[in-house]
């Protein structure tokens, strides 16, 4: 754009902007430049009786959907998807819709607190004037003894902390979320690296696929980017007038995605790799091609028997996959979060190579996105360092490791050995309760920032985060706290505050060919806020995918069970995400789609198995694995293998506020600390036993209430 803009052109541009989005505003309650005006001239964001809309980004999970928040008289009222955002196109899931229940939650941390690790006698409110010198002192510790543990959102804080740790030579910040663990993100990225030669998260073009094989990928509920994949699922079904996509799901416990599939193939956990290889062999036969090297020693009939399915079914499915012009195979969390998960993921990705769908509509692409979590291996080495007293200061933001990490990892015990633990939590969660200080960050709807690692974006996207209301309490942006403390500690970064940092980070976008540009950063910034981010208009992903050769793999297959005594255990995430959603009453009250259960933890047992063991609905059972045990009520779930039981993740909080506490049980107690080759938690091949406790506790279900009335 030329530097000279005539008045006429300026009006044209301004008019165009108003036409595109008449209601979205670029300046808001947290504008940095305060101007005093008479009361009769109300600020734009506070016109009594009128709605003001702000575009921002949802921070309830790492997906990074664009949101439009409707505010009225300074209050956030409703949240909807941003129709222009390339990821979710105006749609939103239950977690994003209930974000106000986090903002206005009565159990938030109201200001900086000396938490004293839960010692109520010594606890005291503190002030930011005292807190910042404290953080500053902590940052002066020897570089190797400072550790940061961050959550999957927001990305700008991660970038800021990475820059700071790099500048003083401290270890890079770790990021962890139980959800990312259940999704197998590290495994997926490493499998893509080994299969396609680039460490990026693959993007599966579901919308244009005809035959889709999902191996434990619950993309309609939680996996990677559920809103964008749900939209693609809808299009796969009905957007093409003559072709209806066909979905087949291979998993032991029917998830929502498998429930919506045309065929659910209940294979044993641990047999996914073998099934993928058997399919590879059968697909090659059906297409008249040479058998891939990895599958040469595989006998499909034996595999079918091992996996617990009919051999004829396997052949039929392979023919279906081979015959379609747009076949797609998706490796999901429960399949790749296993000991052999990396090889399993590769075997599944290899099916895509076999049908040549790489970089084609309905096939696999590579995103520009890195995946936002560090692997569990790195978290384990942090725990080891904490145990060896090599960590003097631990900063925790937007993560709740005491709740989320497998109990056998011993994070809580290791935390006790760290001399100074500073939490930036907005809620008094389990980890914050055990910290020395809680220096609360603003809630996501009161914050600036951006999300840039969007797992399901089909183009380069930066999604902006801006405050939609003025902060309710005495909280402070963690980025601002760290910048001020770093400056005082003598290791300053060249940014005056959080907004300055975000602005400097997005300067390269001005000339990066997005759908808008501006002559300088302030104008660019106001559009960045107004549109809810920056992206390019044209869909475009790297279509040049080099297919690597398939690596010969051997799979040990599913573990043998003692019948009716031992069971495969499936732990699955729900709408509560990594557990942080448990304090949103509407997420608790929302029925689980498959069981219609609310507000609690349940154990899913096949009715056939339950009959054999004499278990009725609502009987409390004790589930034991080599790593721990828990008690919960049984839900007789018809859509699960008789040799498998399943437990949802997210409940069982001992802190986090009134709606979360003392409700259900936390299956983190049942999980191992073992990891697969890519460093993801190997939670998919755990074996459990169940025993009746003699107790009974009715579950709150929305379906047929028979058996609940009169027995409560």
């Amino acid at each position: 754009m030329s530097d000279k803009i005539t008045r006429r052109n300026f009006l044209k541009i301004a008019g165009a902007g108003a036409a595109i989005s008449a209601v979205l505003t670029g300046c808001g309650p947290m504008s940095r430049y305060i101007v005093r005006r008479p009361y009769t001239e109300m600020p734009e964001y506070n016109q009594t009786g009128l709605n003001t809309y702000y575009a921002s980004t949802c921070r309830e999970c790492a997906a990074g959907c664009g949101i439009i928040v409707r505010t009225k008289e300074g209050r956030a009222i409703t949240i909807e998807g941003n129709p222009q955002h390339p990821l979710n196109r105006g749609r939103l899931c239950a977690r994003g819709i209930t974000a106000q229940q986090g903002l206005y939650n009565p159990d938030r941390v109201f200001g900086p607190i000396f938490q004293a690790r839960g010692d109520t006698g010594r606890q005291a409110r503190t002030s930011w004037d005292e807190a910042i010198p404290l953080v500053s002192e902590a940052l002066k510790s020897p570089a190797g003894q400072i550790a940061f543990l961050l959550g999957t959102a927001p990305d700008h804080l991660y970038d800021l902390v990475t820059e700071w740790t790099r500048s003083i030579g401290a270890p890079a910040p770790l990021r962890y979320s139980a959800l990312a663990s259940f999704e197998g993100r590290s495994t997926l990225q490493e499998a893509a690296n080994r299969t396609f030669g680039k460490p990026a998260l693959p993007y599966f073009d579901l919308a244009n696929a005809e035959v889709v094989f999902s191996f434990g990928a619950n993309f309609l509920e939680t996996w990677l980017s559920p809103v964008s994949y749900s939209a693609a699922y809808g299009d796969m079904r009905q957007a093409r007038p003559t072709r209806r996509g066909y979905l087949v799901a291979f998993e032991a416990r029917q998830s929502l995605t498998a429930g919506n599939a045309d065929e659910w193939i209940p294979i044993k956990p641990g047999s996914e790799g073998l099934v993928a290889l058997a399919l590879a062999r059968l697909v090659a036969e059906a297409r008249g091609e040479a058998t891939p090297a990895a599958a040469r020693s595989i006998d499909p009939a034996t595999v079918a028997e091992t996996a617990g399915i009919e051999p004829a079914k396997l052949t039929e499915l392979a023919r279906l996959f081979a015959a379609s012009e747009h076949s797609l195979a998706i490796p999901g969390g429960s399949a790749i979060g296993q000991h052999e998960g990396l090889a399993i993921a590769q075997a599944i990705l290899q099916l895509n190579v076999q049908v040549n769908n790489l970089g084609l509509p309905g096939g696999v692409f590579l995103t520009n996105s890195e995946q936002p979590t560090t692997s569990l291996t790195e978290v384990k080495s942090l725990v080891q360092k904490m145990n060896d007293s090599q960590v003097k200061v631990l900063f925790i933001h937007a993560a709740n490791p005491v709740f989320e990490l497998p109990k056998v990892l011993g994070f809580e015990e290791a935390l006790a050995k760290v001399p100074l633990v500073i939490s930036f939590a907005t809620f008094p969660d389990e980890t914050a309760m055990l910290s020395d200080y809680i220096l609360p960050d603003h809630s996501p709807l009161e914050s600036f920032g951006y999300q840039r690692m969007l797992a399901a974006a089909d183009r380069p996207v930066y999604s902006s985060i801006q405050p939609v209301v003025a902060p309710l309490y005495d909280t402070r942006a963690t980025a601002d706290v760290l910048l001020a403390a770093a400056a005082a500690a003598g290791s300053p970064l060249p940014y005056t505050d959080e907004v300055d940092f975000v602005q400097q980070m997005i300067v390269p976008l001005i000339s990066a060919g997005g759908f808008y540009t501006a002559p300088e950063i302030q104008t660019f910034w106001s559009r960045w806020l107004q549109y809810g981010g920056w992206w390019v208009t044209e869909q475009g992903l790297d279509a040049e995918i080099a297919a690597g050769s398939s690596r010969p793999a051997t799979f040990s297959g599913p573990a043998a069970l003692e019948e009716d005594k031992q069971f495969y255990l499936v732990v699955f995430p729900t709408q509560l995400g990594d557990g942080a959603g448990a304090n949103r009453p509407w997420l608790q009250e929302m029925p689980d789609p498959m069981t219609t259960l609310t507000w609690n933890t349940w154990v899913e047992v096949n009715p056939e198995t339950a009959d054999k063991l004499g278990i009725h609905d609502d009987d409390v059972v004790r589930v034991t694995t080599p790593y721990g045990a828990l008690e919960a009520s049984v839900y007789r779930y018809p859509a699960i293998r008789p040799d498998t039981i399943a437990i949802p993740f997210g409940q069982g909080h001992t802190a986090l506020g009134r709606w979360a506490e003392g409700r259900g049980a936390n299956p983190a107690a049942l999980l191992p600390a073992a990891v697969n080759e890519a460093g993801d938690l190997a939670f998919g091949d755990v074996i459990a036993s169940i025993a009746l406790t003699g107790k009974r506790r009715p579950l709150a279900r929305v379906e047929n209430r028979e058996g609940v009335y009169g027995e409560h």
């Binding site: 009225k72 209050r75 009222i77 409703t78 949240i79 909807e80 998807g81 979710n88 749609r91 939103l92 899931c93 239950a94 819709i97 106000q100 229940q101 206005y104 009565p106 309609l220 509920e221 559920p226 809103v227 749900s230 939209a231 699922y233 809808g234 299009d235 079904r237 009905q238 995605t257 429930g259 919506n260 599939a261 045309d262 659910w264 209940p266 309710l472 709408q575 009453p585 509407w586 608790q588 009250e589 929302m590 029925p591 789609p593 219609t596 609310t598 507000w599 096949n606 056939e608 018809p638 859509a639 008789p642 409700r663 009715p698 579950l699 709150a700 279900r701 929305v702 609940v708 009335y709």
Partner: protein, 240 residues
């Protein structure tokens, strides 16, 4: 009761494409946040007193291993001939002439629950308690929608506040309402695009077009309720 026809143009309707619907329940939560539907807690849900203006009916079909859920989002069907209306002794259940939908006048309602008894769709929800929304959580309550007290029946309104707001905007700009301009909260949220809302009196609207689909059926049409919600059968196992 019978549809009133005075040459009024609007006839709002909804289409639910069950082939797109995944049963994710985003609509349930979106509706609750828009319409100030109170959460009731575990015990109330267990007693069948949970309040959902839209709920996902999940029916198991088949037996293991060929078992699958069939999802059917059910909300007030805004019957043209509504069974709930004639039984209300206080005329709280009324038919709006302008929008051609069923509305509940909360301050007329005395809580006889006759209407809920007579509704074949389980669409009416009764407030067994006052809502318990501690401060400051009441800050997000939508000022466009009344908060209902204990003893009052409530139900889906097709987000009538959004219809009215849309109509006012259009009239202020001196133009007719555009197709797709008004979206109830459930339709706006739906991640898979299973819900389509619009004016059935306009034959060119998207909802009218979709309601002609060969997969269409009405829920319990045989009762003669003349629902304004049209379902499109799911493909595959869901009975396409």
């Amino acid at each position: 009761m019978a549809e009133v026809s005075k040459g009024i143009a609007e006839k709002w309707g909804l289409v639910v494409d069950q082939d797109r619907c995944t049963g994710c329940n985003a609509c349930v939560v979106a509706c609750s946040m828009e319409n100030n539907v109170p959460f009731t807690g575990e015990d109330n849900v267990a007693f069948g007193r949970g309040t959902y203006w839209i709920y996902n009916k999940r029916m198991w079909e088949g037996a293991y291993p060929e078992v699958a859920p069939a999802f059917q989002p059910v909300m007030c069907q805004q019957c043209g001939s509504a069974p709930c209306e004639p039984v209300c002794p206080t005329f709280a259940a009324v038919h709006s002439e302008e929008e051609q939908i069923n509305l509940q006048i909360y301050n007329r309602c005395i809580g006889t629950r006759y209407c809920a008894n007579n509704c074949p769709y389980h669409a009416r929800q009764f407030n067994f308690q006052d809502p318990d929304i501690p401060e400051p959580m009441n800050s997000y309550l939508n000022p466009d929608v009344t908060i209902r007290r204990r003893g009052v029946m409530e139900k889906c309104t097709f987000c009538v506040q959004r219809i009215v707001a849309g109509r006012q905007t259009a009239s202020a700009e001196d133009r007719p309402l555009r197709d797709g301009e008004v979206t109830p909260a459930c339709v706006a949220a739906c991640p898979s695009g299973a819900l389509v809302f619009g004016d059935l009196s306009d034959p060119s609207s998207r909802v009218s077009q979709m309601a002609q689909n060969e997969r269409q059926y009405k829920l319990m049409d045989e009762l003669g309720t003349r629902p304004k919600v049209t379902y499109l059968k799911g493909g595959g196992r869901n009975g396409g």
